[in-house]
Symmetry: D2
Subunit: 474 residues, 4 copies
């Protein structure tokens, strides 16, 4: 299974189409979370919540027409991945609550890695939790800070951020307006754009802007809170709750997660990936008949790689875009030959040829191995592989769901051992330095490469070991 | 809306995995029919039917485990498109009936264009029809021919084919075995492959073979019936029910419908499309900064085009593979800017550049126009278009669902008028001769090009006008 | 399990409310069939069918509002019980078909016991059957008789009745109007009533008239076909297709099936049952503290019994009207004490008292035994039982679903042996003569008592043994 | 619409069948709440919650088999009526929460009428509420009392009861065991019984004991908390949290709500109702041909009435036990004659006769009027009515959902005016004194008769007016 991003965010302010535009913004970020979706709209009088499980199309299948066409001027939305316990529905976001009598909705991308400590303290003081989510901690902190903040939600929120450790991009909706903020280290991306008719869009990836016609303005700064007053959003009011400093932006967003077509951390994902392919070609060239992209994630890297070397890029895999469980049971598959359901071989492009497959990354290695074997079964003369990032050897505390460290194919193995395991003629990874040289908007020390290097910008108390995944909320 | 193939077929004989393999074979041909799916299995004692509506994954979601793992040695399956009246469920195939006391299942790809005449005659003689499907006519003819055929199903079937006019690939399942046949003009594709452990696979497209590990053997010949005896299939018994002659194979399967990775009519679809792109480059070259494929259907044609001219191929569109209705109502979309949900622009690949978009075909022109406008809105310096087939000006009697003739953008318009309508800097179509020069397995006179030329190999009595679509069964 | 009536019918003619009134008429006859319901309406232009599985409320939950308020002037409906194979949905009625180009709907209560012979003959001639239902035989016969009847549906129907053997009340809807008919022996009830604003209602039980405000007119005669012309019904045209003769009306309708509040075969069910109770009191009096009705079926018989003897009638059972499977598994019920879910004891009415339970009938005896044990466990001093019909010892060919003969408690047992088995202080059954003396509208020789006497008015060829249940359609 | 009880409770302790027995106990109390059901089980390691909407059979349709057969030794369950806002699901009970780190489930029957004041205070202190339910207030009070109670849940609960005003029977499940308690005034019933194999059952009505074979022990005393230690329940530990005093038990439980077969407040419901009917006969006799019960609620009262006067009791109504919306729209019903769906007339028992209908109570009067008109339409010579309680003129603060005061037919009308409105030949109500004389287990001053008298035992602050219904939780 591939590593999984936990969540995607989209907020819209200042247009009566905020609900459909937020829904479209989530739909365009569906790759960031496929298990549940939700949105909350500010209708002028009420904050109305709608959540559901499954893909956006399923979760919003019965989104009331009255809400869709309510003319609500503000909305925030969330797609999520991952479950805590069995209850997807319970942890669906935005979470809604009254804090000090004020209705609030909150949507979160990231992982607050000291949430369980904070939660335990709050429970001791009499707080009742309804979800397993680290996000709910923020709501309880806000509720307790309301009295001390003169019942001003924005101030109560600012007071609640201080104890948080880890990664958090937050969108909040209150009676007063829409709030967007990003943790001081900036682990996850969040950008703001201007809607054509006025008003604002905020999203994890800028691909959400294209579906609503918004023009990219800038990133929300790490340690910055933006407030857009209801109903129009006005000029967003920026508050810094933490001084600017060294960042820890997730380089893996560029390598794998984000969609080509998006800007993240100020760089074009498609261009970054093309540059990574080219850099990899210079670091580890290969003499083959064709460079083979793995659709769709490896397309741009393969293009960069092939152009740099003047090699043809040939499609040896064809993708079945329909999804659904396989009908072949483990028992029967042993009797039948191997099944490649998602990517299928184009045999006439493979037979007798020397091929170099360009992958974005290798995590467990099982998927790569299936593909390599399929190429060999179809008669490839040679199969080489080039990977557009360094070997994955560590977990993540900041919002990405990697398998257990012992399941990482590169854990405890040299590149040569991996090559042998994967039955490749040659294998090379892009260097960390090479990878970081391909992003341009921020200096390379502002990126987190912990999953390659094991160097973490922030570590949970009493938990110094490389983490397992599955913590936190998104 | 794009033209729509009506149906896909898959049959498996001679393996206890026939049910899961047939289901996978349908799944790999999902593009040929998304509204319903069904399969019938021969368990040794019974012919068991399971059908459902929606995609294969939905239709087979509650396929009983007992059937899946029944060890049934034969199965036939069908995916379908299109509804007649409101009842998708009623027309789902395979159809099942007892003919002369013998249970029979039948699955059909094509259109029997004299079905309504045959149906009326049968009704006059006391036949009761349960569906709107042209396929049911075949069952009633068989039932009436049983007595005269000594209650031999195969003979009753052969006797029933004579009055049929139009396109029909048929798979039948009987107590005796599995039957595959193709009409004398061979409108639709049907191939046979050998399963690795013994047994046979039959499918509209050979991509179905790759998921079940079958090796391509040959096409089922036009005018040929193949019989595979239960349970193992043995050596398929070939019966010719019509002499070999000039064929009318659908060239649009190569242009648009079939998946790259399939062989149809004996040719590789990916190679045919690449050759079409190259031929188009010679017929209508273009001076641009980049050739732009339309994912995914135009990918191979664009590759052929760009390589032939030595131009770079750049991805300016990124595809959202998730599907679902838009949340933006017509009312709100007028207030917002344009939405491209399925294909989204990668702005940095477009701005200030001269681009040549390669399309497989243009039917109504509305989709192309949306894309062209999106490229212009993103700042393209020039937008040219090259189309890998001639202009579509006629309907189809043989199993493809085109819009009404008056909705075809090329109907009554010159290429220059289309160019102007689509706001293009230049536009060119591949010539019919050029298109036919790219298929190699059959001579070019063995292809039907009626949708381009208006020359039909067979026309319904009393209906000489170019047809509307939506007739017939698949 | 209790014996089960297979079906109930309701037809409405001559009012724009025919659809809701037919639905209400079925709802009031829900006890005659709980597994599926359907109706067909004549909208003036079309015969529109809607069927569903489950109770009327479920089956019609998504009955389109457009149909409900279509103003259709005629409708026929059907509730059914019992499944043949697994497909309830397939056998749901009305069945719809085109016979000789004419659309026809048909709903059936009864069992045509030579249907399988007729079916085999029709199949040999090329007919294709879509259901397992004996009703479909009638449609095929009609289709074959259309040509010979000058394509007049009514005549084709009359010609099709001749070969039928067994029990059949039929409602048909055609373009021309609504047809109601009853087999020559009159096994099942069917009555006609006049709607308050004009028009007609036809139903198995007259309780259906009360919900639509219709006034009872008379029974449809055995061997009579009534035709009501579209749209208003006019004066129903009566055709006798069989001469009047000795009848075989089902006495068990009066004993058990029909609802108090209905007339069947011209007699009031509540009055017949009260008379049966009184007669039973004279035949087999009992010295007890109280007569105990079994709600709700034994209420009237117990009233007749108690009044005749001047004994108080006390409610010792209270009924839970909600339905649903038990949550107690066989395993756990052995650990717990006995569960009476449907009827629960009122302990204070039982303790220390001598009780006489009046039952309508005893079939397997298992339910009675449960109740008797519950009374004893609650401390009853004595438990006697009086049954308002003779012992059940034979099956039914004519539309009622009894358990296998060997499961009938009275099969091969004397009354004394049954008493002992049921742990009763005394037990008596009503005599056949006594039972028949309680109906007044027809002479007693016009009733079928085969389930008590084993004397059948009509027997399937080659099947002279007492029948199992579950044959036929309704 | 009839007045509606809000909730029913059932708890089982000390048997591995606690889950199925609790489910059956709820099913037998289905009349106390039809909109949602839930249960929580103590598996030894976990407190597992399952809730659903609709009837018990629906809500528990997908109750996991693993839970059903988990061998959980303790379970509490709840059926509920009534919604607050649109979210039935949200307010379904038992509610689950962690209080001070301890998991707790709570189920509530009654209304805490100062809940909104308590809630507002808790919110000011930073509590976040998830439901609209007054029950959640108890959980938050417990959470806040945990620290001060040394993290002992039972003590925290006792400390939380003090501020509560109104009616509350509570069942709680904790790691330590099962708690049952009843408010000091004892508004709602709650009894305890002993299971046959050891262990305990607690339920609102003792009918729940009969389905699980439990033997009635006694009422839970007003102001008493019973604690049954996990797993076996042991000897329940009784704690009085309020001294014994004058009570306010709801007399309407005896008049209408509770099922015959139950004991409530120590009296047999069927006997109390029979006595009420006899007393009414003495207070207001009637010269008629027959006394007519209204099934099923009026059955026992009618029996008492008829026996006291030596009059025959005749069934003029027959009940359709199936439920579902009517198919007749208001528009069409004006064209058709009147529809009686639930109770239908037996015409032959009505025509030409003088009848006295015995009702348990009259609230709005609309249902009674429909029945009276149906009797007159069927030809009754005279229609009299006797009602087994005084006229309803006031609302309820303690858990019953009456319509608005202005909708009560007796509000502002004399008995003579009501008689005229209902088109009766005579009408009489049972006196308050007469009604109270029929209960025997407690002195008559221990009953609340506020809905008849307007004298309330407890009134919300600042809300002295007679209440509307629909407040509180159950």
């Amino acid at each position: 299974m591939a590593p999984r991003e936990h969540c995607g965010l989209c907020g819209i302010a200042g247009t009566p189409d905020s609900v459909p535009l937020a829904a479209e913004g989530l739909f365009s970020q569906q790759h960031r979370g496929q298990e549940a979706a939700g949105l909350m709209a500010h209708t002028g009088t009420d904050l109305v919540l709608h959540t559901g499980t499954g893909l956006v199309a399923e979760a919003f299948a019965n989104l009331p027409h009255s809400l869709m066409s309510s003319g609500a001027m503000m909305a925030i939305g969330h797609v999520r991945y991952g479950t805590f316990g069995s209850s997807v529905a319970l942890n669906t976001q935005p979470l809604a609550a009254e804090v000090g009598g004020c209705p609030v909705g909150i949507a979160h991308n990231g992982t607050i890695h000291n949430a369980s400590v904070l939660r335990r303290n709050l429970q001791r003081e009499g707080a009742i939790f309804q979800t397993d989510s680290d996000t709910e901690v923020v709501l309880h902190l806000m509720a307790r800070n309301m009295a001390g903040s003169g019942f001003d939600v924005n101030n109560a929120l600012l007071a609640s951020l201080e104890p948080l450790r880890g990664a958090y991009c937050l969108l909040l909706l209150t009676r007063e307006g829409l709030i967007a903020l990003r943790d001081p280290l900036g682990f996850r991306p969040l950008s703001i754009g201007r809607l054509p008719g006025g008003g604002w869009a905020v999203a994890s990836e800028t691909i959400a802007f294209s579906v609503c016609g918004a023009e990219y303005v800038r990133e929300v700064e790490p340690g910055e809170m933006l407030f857009m007053a209801f109903p129009g959003g006005g000029d967003p009011v920026s508050t810094r709750f933490s001084p600017a400093g060294k960042l820890a932006q997730c380089i893996f967003e560029h390598v794998y997660f984000a969609r080509p077509g998006s800007l993240v951390f100020g760089d074009s994902v498609s261009q970054t990936r093309t540059r990574m392919g080219a850099r990899l070609a210079r670091e580890a060239p290969c003499e083959v008949d064709a460079v083979v992209p793995v659709p769709d994630s490896g397309t741009f890297a393969a293009m960069g790689y092939s152009r740099e070397l003047g090699l043809p890029q040939d499609f040896c895999f064809t993708r079945n875009h329909y999804i659904g469980r396989t009908f072949i049971s483990p028992a029967s598959s042993s009797r039948s030959s191997m099944v490649m359901r998602k990517l299928q071989i184009i045999p006439e492009a493979v037979r007798g040829r020397k091929l170099c497959v360009v992958e974005d990354s290798i995590v467990r290695g099982t998927t790569s191995l299936t593909r390599i074997r399929a190429l060999r079964a179809a008669g490839a003369a040679e199969v080489h592989m080039r990977v557009c990032c360094p070997p994955h050897r560590f977990g993540c505390y900041f919002g990405i769901d990697f398998p257990e460290q012992s399941s990482l194919v590169a854990y405890g193995r040299s590149v040569e051992e991996i090559r042998e395991l994967l039955d490749l003629d040659s294998l090379a990874y892009l260097s960390e330095e090479g990878m970081l040289s391909c992003v341009t908007a921020h200096p390379s020390q502002d990126y987190c490469t912990a999953c390659f290097s094991g160097v973490y910008a922030s570590v949970p108390d009493g938990n110094p070991i490389p983490p397992r995944c599955g913590r936190g909320d998104a």
